[in-house]
Symmetry: D2
Subunit: 252 residues, 4 copies
Amino acid sequence: MEKITASDKVLLLGKSDFLVDVAKGMFHTNHGTINLSKLVGKKFGTIIKSSKGESFSVLRPNINDFLDKRLARLPQIISLKDCSLIAGLTGLSSGYNVIEAGTGSAFLTVFMANLVKPNGKIFTYELRSDFFKSAKKNIDDSGLSAFVDAKNRDISKGFKEKDVDLVVLDMIGAEKIVPKAYKAIKSGGFLVVYSPYIEQVKAVCNEIEMESFTEVRTLECLVRDYKITRDFSRPNTTMLAHTGYMTFARKV
Amino acid sequence: MEKITASDKVLLLGKSDFLVDVAKGMFHTNHGTINLSKLVGKKFGTIIKSSKGESFSVLRPNINDFLDKRLARLPQIISLKDCSLIAGLTGLSSGYNVIEAGTGSAFLTVFMANLVKPNGKIFTYELRSDFFKSAKKNIDDSGLSAFVDAKNRDISKGFKEKDVDLVVLDMIGAEKIVPKAYKAIKSGGFLVVYSPYIEQVKAVCNEIEMESFTEVRTLECLVRDYKITRDFSRPNTTMLAHTGYMTFARKV
Amino acid sequence: MEKITASDKVLLLGKSDFLVDVAKGMFHTNHGTINLSKLVGKKFGTIIKSSKGESFSVLRPNINDFLDKRLARLPQIISLKDCSLIAGLTGLSSGYNVIEAGTGSAFLTVFMANLVKPNGKIFTYELRSDFFKSAKKNIDDSGLSAFVDAKNRDISKGFKEKDVDLVVLDMIGAEKIVPKAYKAIKSGGFLVVYSPYIEQVKAVCNEIEMESFTEVRTLECLVRDYKITRDFSRPNTTMLAHTGYMTFARKV
Amino acid sequence: MEKITASDKVLLLGKSDFLVDVAKGMFHTNHGTINLSKLVGKKFGTIIKSSKGESFSVLRPNINDFLDKRLARLPQIISLKDCSLIAGLTGLSSGYNVIEAGTGSAFLTVFMANLVKPNGKIFTYELRSDFFKSAKKNIDDSGLSAFVDAKNRDISKGFKEKDVDLVVLDMIGAEKIVPKAYKAIKSGGFLVVYSPYIEQVKAVCNEIEMESFTEVRTLECLVRDYKITRDFSRPNTTMLAHTGYMTFARKV
């Protein structure tokens, strides 16, 4: 069982949950101050008390903790269920090279960087400088910046990456990038376009039809959560009913 | 752009689709024989003709092509959408160590091995020797056997792996394994149980409640495909409406 | 075009919406007082102004306006989508005789009474006297009391109605009523049980299996709303994901 | 308990199911001939044997048996779940007057006629003479022709009915009828348009926006069936995932 070091991030689970750097030393919360330096040398799974006597379990975090608790979010992100399908249906894994636009808050960027490590790379384009700055900070904070090349640049002006395994577009006007994306994808590689509206899907599918793509598929992913108790089982009363449509296409 | 070598697998897309080893040499199909040796040195994306004059596009395959076209399947597999969520919601990526039971036809095994490579491992248990043999063959054929330790063994008799990132159970009586799984998972790691029936979910959730798990969640994933043409857009008429429930729990 | 009479109910649509009896005379709202007596002799569709100068359109109400705006609701009602399927899948229409338990707030009672009128009847049983009182008031207020026989009585103690077209059960312990319901249904008639939890569905299905029922079917109804604008179309972001399961069975 | 008369229709449930007129006398099936005249004076629920010794239960049919087993169907019908919502959400019941176009095979026509009887009427328009003939036969066969006025006429050429409670459009070019429909609907009445494609929904919503409608709502209805046994409960593996979108609007 690995021990906590001064360079680790830890997940604190208590009355509130936090993802913090042990190196931060003293960590102030509404539930009291936590002396993180005491954690060094302890095992993950240990419990630490705040100055107010509140207990926090100390867990080893994973990428989703970062995405959920640390990443500074812009209004629109691609939700984890959709990130999962984009990755799963394209075979995204270590060694993949990916072009992404726009970066947004870098939620999908970081999710993908974690999958392509240690020998793949995400080339991500963001037009707006304010989004880019926020994204850059998130990428650096994720510890995965070695696997990301983030650019504050309008992808519609062109890009030089070639022979990539995947191009992911989540941007207004994605349809205009399709021909360029086609050229950049290697044979057998994928284009994925994320579109909140059906009109965007149509515009993208029209462009996809003009190129030599195969396995074209538009889908949406619905996750239904359940409430399970000893006595009663039922689906949750409400659910997230729409995030976006995902269009997949594969270069011949 | 990489060239095809004699040790590659290639995806042939034509009237029928195939995933074949170039090393096979002559490949016989209903649409004529294909001389694969001619492909060596050509670029992926090239077209090859069969002895009957049928054209096949030659693409670089990915892990899903293997799962879809080569893996010998037992009746029940965990579908790609569910594999994607299991991976995405647990942060599965290179370096993860995973215990899986049962192996079945190794569909999920191979899917996960592709994600944990190059420095993680899937320890997978299968009770039935006939399933184990089939699974072993699939694992070897996938080219990912270095990242899999497959055992023809009843996991309920115990196992020695410790401090794993994830335990995935897809087996009758999964609920009996929950206490042992809990011990084997490292702090912050995950248990995922796949259950076709709601009664199995309940049995599993009852056991999960007895251990120190957090973030317990049962869900199902529904993928809705769309038909998009220039004129008309609508969801497909029928859909896969149920595969299985997935219960997630995280060790404190 | 029919004119408004003093005995009508009218639907007022404005900054707030109301369903009121014209006979009420002066109607006080946060948006001013409305002199309803002025409406007599006017056509439906007219506009009336409140003392504060706010405009209200005056519409002819239907049964759903009553259910939505006037019926005093207990926490749990069977939603309109589910009422619609119960009626639609059993052929509920004028002349049907129906046994219902429990009455609850009489939402389904009134919905069904509106369909069986002018020559059918709803016999509805409610154990709790507080619920019964509230239900009775709602039934009277609906104007459909001629088609309802409401009883403050525990249906499990037995009932005398026979040869009914439909028995609808929405109550804890519905499974215990199934044998009695079977006896009361005429050949070709239906039993419908509404169950929020899957465990209740199972208990009911086990009892149904013991009687001579056919066409047994358990289902749930999901309604997905869309946002449609000139530019963009998409499903609503959230939806009501679970109300209850409905089990249908038909007496041979 | 009512007895079977010579003018009844009966539902025969056996190795195959049939809806037949007792007046037919001898009824020939693959499972032998059934002498229907023997049923007169027997109770519904009785069992009759065919000449081959096969047993058939004799049930009182309802409107859905007619729609399911007797109505001659054109390729496209509005499914029962959607008919149910159209009726339920508009309050359709005895006394309603309805304009419908096109009639198609009269599935929805007959469904609605059964609800508006004994004092309402369905005015239904069908352009194609072959569809009209088939629809007319179905309406006559349903026994509900007194509540239907079927016309072989292009509704876009105009119609004279006024002050109706509901206009239902299920036709190509429905959007062009919206202004005329608006005029024909009484205050508080409804327009419902059934559209298989989202593009049709948009065209209709654009027209609806131009008139004085309120409570505009587009939705689809999904019914999920379950398999419930003593041991295991789960949703059915496949489901009908799309029939059509329904747009509701109410005249102010």
